[in-house]
């Protein structure tokens, strides 16, 4: 055994990870080598000394804040500037192919593949290989569909599509969709109608996309519902998490129990005439460095600097894509105002985040923070209303229980017995063993005692 091999084994020797034979060889070498013996003695003292210098884990309060921040960031659309660098650039190839396929489908939706019309005389569908099997009241035995097939469903009719790639789609008429892709990359172009999807987990590199006029949904394995309409389309996720992209490039992560509503498109979806091009003349904003700088300023107590960084970025940007970090900046602005003691302005800033483009968890966090401040300021009725809105903003959110408790306490402190009783009953129905269960039972019991 060489000196280098022996010295490389110091850590494993101390951690008892060497097998008996290796340990024997190391000790034999140490007995005969003063140089290695000296190093071994040094590390026998240094290693435990260094290991004992453990930074303390985050306090429960800091960990809780981190947890909330993580949930908020997961719910936020992914900022390109903040995306991690991919180690393997070839990941882009299958994604680019899928994107190109989706684009072609988007541009040529009515010239692509054969069409299956349910409830009107059915045309002959191109032969296998079967991509999907369509089952409806007209076709109880099922009909094999190839990639590129088009399905048109009359009003009041239902159909089920079982895809070979382990996905099940329930379609409610009136609806029109086109199937495209292959085993690896599936695209369902839903022009109109309601589609409920149950998609088996995709392997890395596989994609499953539902594209529709106002956006698209990318999933890796989940259950969700898409309602595609000329305006006010929406996506509701029942299980898992999906990436939702709207028509102007905005990206959202929507989790179980959440619904994403799409803003009306600025131009026709499948435009016959190209939409006029507008030029964005506002200066470019790099979200990653900006939000980082704002956070550093807030942590350092430089609240005015934080505001001066945020304010230009939140100005209206005509003809520009909305900033992906606009909600995060709005939240940071509210935090800076709160930290600087401008509580009324902070409340207003938090409430500005309660709009439908903001992820539901961000809305819940903001409304909860606003309600807490309002309670501190003595505005109990407003606090109660905002706690209630925080509950409604994200029924599966992390602050649901705290917001329900807040509503109950605010109503009780305001002397609103009816409101407190209703809030207590709602809390007990949802969290019968929650941290506020005893308090809720006390409110219910006292109201029973007051009853004639």
């Amino acid at each position: 055994m060489t000196c280098r091999e022996v010295q490389d084994a110091f850590v494993d020797l101390q951690d008892g990870r060497l097998d008996a034979a290796s340990e024997l060889r190391v000790h034999a070498h140490l007995e005969s080598c003063a140089h290695c013996r000296e190093h071994a003695a040094n590390w026998k003292a240094l290693l435990p000394a260094m290991r004992a210098l453990v930074p303390p884990p985050p306090t429960p309060m800091r960990a809780r804040r981190m947890e909330l921040e993580i949930e908020r960031r997961i719910a936020e659309p992914v900022s390109l500037a903040a995306r991690p660098r991919r180690r393997w650039p070839l990941y882009g190839v299958p994604l680019a192919v899928a994107a190109a396929a989706a684009l072609v489908l988007w541009l040529l939706p009515r010239k692509h593949g054969p069409t299956v019309v349910v409830a009107v005389p059915p045309p002959v569908v191109a032969a296998p290989p079967a991509f999907a099997v369509l089952t409806s009241t007209d076709k109880p035995a099922g009909e094999r569909l190839a990639a590129g097939s088009r399905v048109v469903l009359a009003s009041g009719r239902n159909a089920t599509l079982e895809l070979a790639t382990l996905a099940s789609l329930a379609l409610v008429g009136p609806a029109e969709l086109t199937l495209a892709g292959d085993d690896q990359h599936v695209t369902v172009a839903l022009e109109e109608g309601r589609l409920e999807a149950k998609v088996a987990h995709r392997q890395p590199g596989q994609t499953f996309v539902v594209a529709f006029p106002q956006g698209r949904v990318e999933v890796r394995g989940t259950r969700f519902v898409v309602m595609a309409k000329p305006v006010d389309s929406w996506v509701r996720v029942d299980e898992g998490r999906v990436a939702v992209f709207d028509h102007d490039g905005g990206e959202w992560s929507v989790g179980a129990g959440e619904t994403h509503e799409f803003a009306p498109p600025p131009a026709p979806i499948f435009p016959a005439v190209p939409a006029p091009r507008h030029v964005c003349s506002s200066p470019a904003v790099s979200c990653g460095p900006l939000t980082q700088a704002v956070r550093v300023a807030i942590r350092g107590g430089a609240y005015e600097r934080a505001e001066s960084l945020i304010e230009p970025a939140l100005r209206p940007r005509p003809n520009c894509r909305p900033l992906v970090c606009r909600n995060e900046l709005g939240y940071l602005r509210a935090e800076a105002l709160r930290e600087s003691g401008r509580l009324d302005e902070a409340v207003a800033a938090y409430k500005m985040l309660d709009h439908r483009d903001a992820p539901s968890t961000t809305r819940q966090n903001a409304l909860y923070a606003a309600a807490q401040l309002e309670r501190r300021l003595g505005n109990l009725a407003a606090a109660r209303a905002d706690f209630d809105r925080a509950v409604a903003a994200a029924p599966g959110g992390a602050l649901r229980e705290e917001a329900m408790l807040g509503a109950m306490e605010a109503a009780e402190r305001a002397g609103d017995h009816v409101g407190a009783l209703a809030a207590a009953r709602r809390y007990l129905d949802t969290f019968p063993k929650g941290i506020g269960a005893a308090q809720a039972r006390r409110i219910v019991a006292s109201e029973r005692g007051n009853a004639p």
Partner: protein
């Protein structure tokens, strides 16, 4: 030595998190936050960015959970992200050590004020030693020597071969030993072997 959570429990949580269950995300966070925090702290030192980097580790981890194939332990996989995020975080600004009087946290101690002061000083000196190492050597040394991961786990976490990791640890150990023996705090623990 690295503390480990029961793998079966973690595997079940990972499966639930994969299907988007928020409570599973939270449980995974609570199980792993201390270890991730320790790795990030050891990598970037007493910086005010530690909490942000820890959050980034979990955000990136949870977002890429569908890509986790269970070929390694979840903690190893998350540790790999922690190393990558820390190294990326270090690349942006030059590393600056915050004086511990203003640092947001102090070292974990048993409550004895003298011991606390000594440990605080020791942590500052350990940071000062580690900061002299190049990031790859620092990552390998932190994971293997300080956090107690095996060479194979360390190699998986830093994305290098076991042979490369051995070389990095060897170099790091030599550099650190030389500097530690010149540092009064560590020299005292080795037995006043301070060298000229």
């Amino acid at each position: 030595v690295a503390d480990r959570s029961p793998p079966l429990e973690v595997a079940a949580l990972v499966e639930r998190a994969r299907s988007g269950e928020a409570s599973a995300f939270r449980e995974l966070f609570r199980l792993h936050v201390s270890r991730v925090h320790r790795i990030v702290y050891r990598m970037v030192g007493a910086s005010s960015d530690v909490d942000d980097l820890v959050q980034t580790v979990f955000v990136e981890g949870f977002r890429s959970l569908p890509g986790f194939r269970g070929e390694s332990l979840f903690s190893t996989w998350l540790g790999r992200i922690a190393v990558r995020v820390s190294m990326r975080g270090k690349r942006r600004p030059a590393l600056t050590l915050i004086p511990l009087d203003t640092a947001p946290q102090s070292v974990a101690t048993t409550g004895d004020p003298h011991e606390a002061a000594s440990a605080k000083e020791g942590l500052r000196r350990l940071d000062a030693l580690l900061v002299t190492l190049r990031p790859k050597k620092r990552a390998a040394f932190v994971l293997h020597a300080l956090e107690g991961y095996s060479l194979e786990e360390t190699a998986a976490m830093v994305g290098a071969s076991v042979a490369a990791v051995k070389v990095r640890i060897h170099d790091a150990r030599r550099e650190l030993e030389r500097r530690a023996l010149k540092d009064p705090y560590f020299a005292e623990r080795v037995g006043n072997k301070e060298r000229p």
